[in-house]
C-alpha cells in the first residue's frame, strides 16, 4: 500500500470489520498488466477502424479499473492519461468521423468517463488504504492488550533469570573471597550469569517484537516457529494456572507467506482465551496446540478443556464487541479473524470432546 494514510475521524470500529476483506496488497500477476494493454489495444483498434455509433473511448474505463489492481496512484493517473491520448490519437487518424457531431460527442463522453472512473478509483484506493491503516492500528492495540494480560507472567519470566543472576553473582563474590579463591566455582557461577542474561534478553526481544507497530510484513514464515514463540511468551501464564500443554506439530509443514508478528498475535489470543476458558471451568486443565498439513493448506488448532461454548454462538464469536467473558472487550477474536482473512485464511470454532472448545485456523500455502 502506498504511503501512510491518516485514519478518517468518521471511520468507526464497526466499519472496519466489514472492510478488512478489501484487497490490501497489489497483485504481482504479470498477466494483469498484459491483459490491460491488450484490452486498450483492442479498444483503440475498434475505435479507429470501425464506424460504430457508440462512445468506444468509454470502454477505456475498464482499462483504468484494471490498472487499480496492479498500479499505485501515480500509475493509475498515467494509465488514465494514456487512455485519453489514445482517444485523441484515434480521432486524428479518422478526421472525417471525428469531426462529425456524434464523433465529437463520443470523444467528450469517453474522456469524461475515463476521468471520472480514474478519480473514483483513486478515492476508493485511498479509502482502502485508510481501512488498512485502521486495521493495523487495531491489531497493534490488540497486541498491546494481550501483553497487558501477560504483564504479570512476563515480569515473572524476567524475574526468574534476574533472581538467578543475583544469586550467582553473590556466590561468585563469595568464592572469590575464599582463601584460597575457588576459581572453578567462580567461573561456573559467571557462566550461569551469562546464560541467564541471554535468557532475560530473549524474553525482552519477544515482548519488543510484539509491541512494535509496523504494517504487515509478508515474509516466508514457519508456522511451527510461530506456535513455539507464542507458547514461549505465554509460558509463565500457563505455568501459573497449572495448565498442561501438549504440542503436536507436523513435520511436513512448508513455509508460507505471512506476517509472523500478526500470526503470533492470533496464536497468543487463542492461547490466552483458552487459559481463561479453563479457569472458568472446574475440569482438567489441558491445552493442546496442533499443526497439520491438509492438502494445500496448514491448519493450526488450539484445543482446551475449559467451559466450552454455547452451541448457537459459534458464528457470533468472531464479531467485534461480542464476548462470552465477564469483563471481556470482544475484540480479540474479531482482530484474529481480520488477520487470518488478510492471509486468505479462515478461522472457526467448534466443540471439543468431551469438554471445552477448539479454535482452528487454516492458512493456504500458495497465495495468489
Amino acid at each position: 500500500m502506498q504511503g501512510p494514510a491518516a485514519v478518517p475521524a468518521g471511520l468507526s470500529f464497526f466499519s472496519y470489520n466489514a472492510a478488512v476483506k478489501l484487497p490490501i496488497l497489489k497483485t504481482t500477476n504479470p498477466l494483469l498488466p498484459a491483459g490491460a494493454a491488450l484490452l486498450a489495444a483492442v479498444i483503440f483498434i475498434a475505435d479507429t477502424f470501425t464506424d460504430l455509433e457508440v462512445a468506444m473511448p468509454a470502454f477505456y474505463t475498464a482499462v483504468v479499473l484494471l490498472s487499480v489492481r496492479f498500479c499505485n496512484r501515480r500509475g493509475v493517473i498515467y494509465v488514465a492519461a494514456g487512455c485519453i491520448v489514445l482517444t485523441i490519437v484515434s480521432d486524428f487518424l479518422t478526421p472525417d468521423a471525428a469531426a462529425s457531431e456524434s464523433g465529437i460527442i463520443n470523444t467528450v463522453i469517453g474522456i469524461a468517463a475515463i476521468v471520472t472512473t480514474a478519480l473514483l478509483a483513486l478515492k476508493i484506493e485511498s479509502a482502502t488504504a485508510a481501512v488498512y491503516e485502521a486495521r493495523s492500528q487495531l491489531t497493534h492495540m490488540g497486541r498491546v492488550a494481550s501483553l497487558g494480560e501477560l504483564t504479570a507472567s512476563i515480569a515473572h519470566e524476567v524475574n526468574q533469570p534476574l533472581a538467578a543472576t543475583v544469586a550467582n553473582g553473590n556466590a561468585c563474590l563469595r568464592w572469590l573471597a575464599a582463601e584460597p579463591p575457588n576459581l572453578e566455582e567462580a567461573r561456573h557461577a559467571i557462566e550461569s550469569i551469562v546464560k541467564d542474561g541471554n535468557r532475560a534478553s530473549a524474553i525482552i526481544a519477544r515482548v519488543r517484537a510484539l509491541t512494535q507497530q509496523q504494517s504487515a510484513q509478508m515474509t516466508a514464515i514457519d508456522v511451527n516457529e510461530i506456535i513455539r514463540e507464542a507458547l514461549a511468551l505465554s509460558d509463565g501464564e500457563l505455568k501459573v494456572h497449572r495448565i498442561a500443554v501438549e504440542t503436536r506439530l507436523a513435520r511436513d509443514v512448508p513455509r508460507l507467506k505471512g506476517d509472523a508478528i500478526q500470526l503470533q498475535q492470533v496464536m497468543l489470543n487463542l492461547i490466552l482465551n483458552a487459559v481463561e476458558a479453563i479457569n472458568m471451568g472446574a475440569g482438567p486443565r489441558q491445552l493442546a496446540v496442533v499443526s497439520q498439513r491438509e492438502g494445500d493448506a496448514v491448519t493450526v488448532s488450539v484445543e482446551d478443556s475449559g467451559v466450552g461454548l454455547k452451541k448457537d454462538r459459534f458464528d457470533r464469536l468472531f464479531d467485534a464487541f461480542y464476548t462470552e467473558k465477564p469483563g471481556g472487550m470482544g475484540m480479540g477474536l474479531a482482530i484474529s479473524r481480520s488477520i487470518v482473512e488478510a492471509h486468505d485464511g479462515k478461522i472457526w470454532a467448534q466443540a471439543n470432546s468431551p469438554r471445552g472448545a477448539i479454535f482452528r485456523f487454516r492458512l493456504p500455502i500458495e497465495r495468489s
Partner: protein, 130 residues
C-alpha cells in the same frame, strides 16, 4: 560447635534452583535442589532437612501447599517461600500458616541468609546452635 543446617531448595526453574544451591554452598551450607514438590516429598531427605526454600508457584503444588503437606504429615520444616509474584494477601496467608519468611524474587543474599538464620532458630528449640 556450629552446625550449618542442611537446606532443600524446591524450585521448578532449573537455572534459579542451581543458582540458589550454589549460593548456599558458597556460604558453607549443605544444599540440595529438587525440581518439584513431589520429588522432595518422595526423597529420603525430609528428616535431615532443617530448612526448606520453596518456590510459591510450581506446576504440581505451590510452595505453601508443600509446607502444609509437611505439617500435615507430621514432619514440619521451617520454610522460606520465594516468589516472583509477591502479593500482600498471599504473604499474610503464608506467614499466618507458619512460614518463616516470604521473599520476592530477585531476593538479596542478606535477606536470604537472615531468613535461614531465623529458620534455624525456629527449627531447633534451643535456638543457639547457629
Amino acid at each position: 560447635m556450629t552446625i550449618k543446617p542442611s537446606i532443600a531448595v524446591v524450585e521448578d526453574d532449573e537455572s534459579l534452583r542451581e543458582a540458589t544451591v550454589g549460593l548456599l554452598r558458597a556460604h558453607g551450607f549443605i544444599a540440595k535442589g529438587f525440581a518439584s514438590p513431589n520429588e522432595f516429598l518422595g526423597s529420603n531427605r525430609i528428616r535431615i532437612t532443617s530448612c526448606l526454600i520453596a518456590d510459591m508457584r510450581m506446576p504440581e503444588m505451590s510452595g505453601l501447599a508443600l509446607y502444609g503437606q509437611l505439617v500435615a504429615q507430621g514432619t514440619p520444616i521451617p520454610t522460606i517461600i520465594i516468589t516472583a509474584y509477591p502479593e500482600d494477601a498471599v504473604r499474610s496467608r503464608a506467614l499466618a500458616a507458619g512460614v518463616t519468611a516470604y521473599l520476592a524474587k530477585p531476593f538479596s543474599e542478606q535477606e536470604l541468609l537472615d531468613s535461614i538464620d531465623v529458620a534455624a532458630r525456629r527449627g531447633s528449640p534451643s535456638g543457639l546452635k547457629h
